[in-house]
Symmetry: C2
Subunit: 164 residues, 2 copies
Amino acid sequence: MDAFQDYYPDEFAQCYGCGRLNRHGRHLKTVWDGEESVSVYTPHPYEIALPGFVNGGVLASLIDCHATGTAAAVAYRAEGREMGSLPAHRFVTASLHVDFLSPTPLGPPLEIRGRLESIEGRHVVVDAHISVAGRITVRGRVLSVEIPASMDPRHPHGEAPAKA
Amino acid sequence: MDAFQDYYPDEFAQCYGCGRLNRHGRHLKTVWDGEESVSVYTPHPYEIALPGFVNGGVLASLIDCHATGTAAAVAYRAEGREMGSLPAHRFVTASLHVDFLSPTPLGPPLEIRGRLESIEGRHVVVDAHISVAGRITVRGRVLSVEIPASMDPRHPHGEAPAKA
């Protein structure tokens, strides 16, 4: 089964967290499992906070990309459209909240699961959590919004990107 | 001037976001500027969300490490102790909230600024924002807590870290 992120057009597939075309990125992949979306990620040994524990910023990033991917999938579903049909949905994060319930041990794969909380126009709220070996260590909530014209490479009036 | 993170003992200096001993990390450095703490970070060209714009997970990570570093500095100051004196303070994140006000262009250095909101026992709340070329694009609030025994490499009863 193709992941949500596999359906992004090339210009939307550059994300450091989940873009299939980002050579240095994490390449997060998300699929449906019934009403929940699921990603799996195994952190690199250097993605730590303290020895033996996954970095909180990395965990927040996983929640973030998991949620924006889920938002895109939700938007297609709400319109009764197949993922990959045009125009493409691409969401970005307006607000991210993450609670670190307990330290997340480094080593085993992390499972990220999300569920639609609400969809209203261009705004989608996804609740998500991260578990390791069946134990939830992180909970998050993300408000995503359909990509604004100023960020959209398809949009002729978008801001010119700053030179990297 | 040494940065807050330069005072961490070696066992606390492995963080992917701010540890001076993490060979793959971002090496965030934070100093006081009056009552505010300041870090500067220039994202890599691949740390993007969409072409030309900084990745939201990276921005959240910067807020996160900036706040935990500030929390440690605040804790020393509250005790009238010099940074680097023992026992060392090291904070980890309990809760992270980030609002993305507008897209953050890739290219110029990002300035991260923080300010103490409250300190109560082992809990420190820091408000932070990120600006680029003088314009604030991200605001965050972080609840940090002094490192729990289960994560603390100094603590004989800490959990054994999982193998990476």
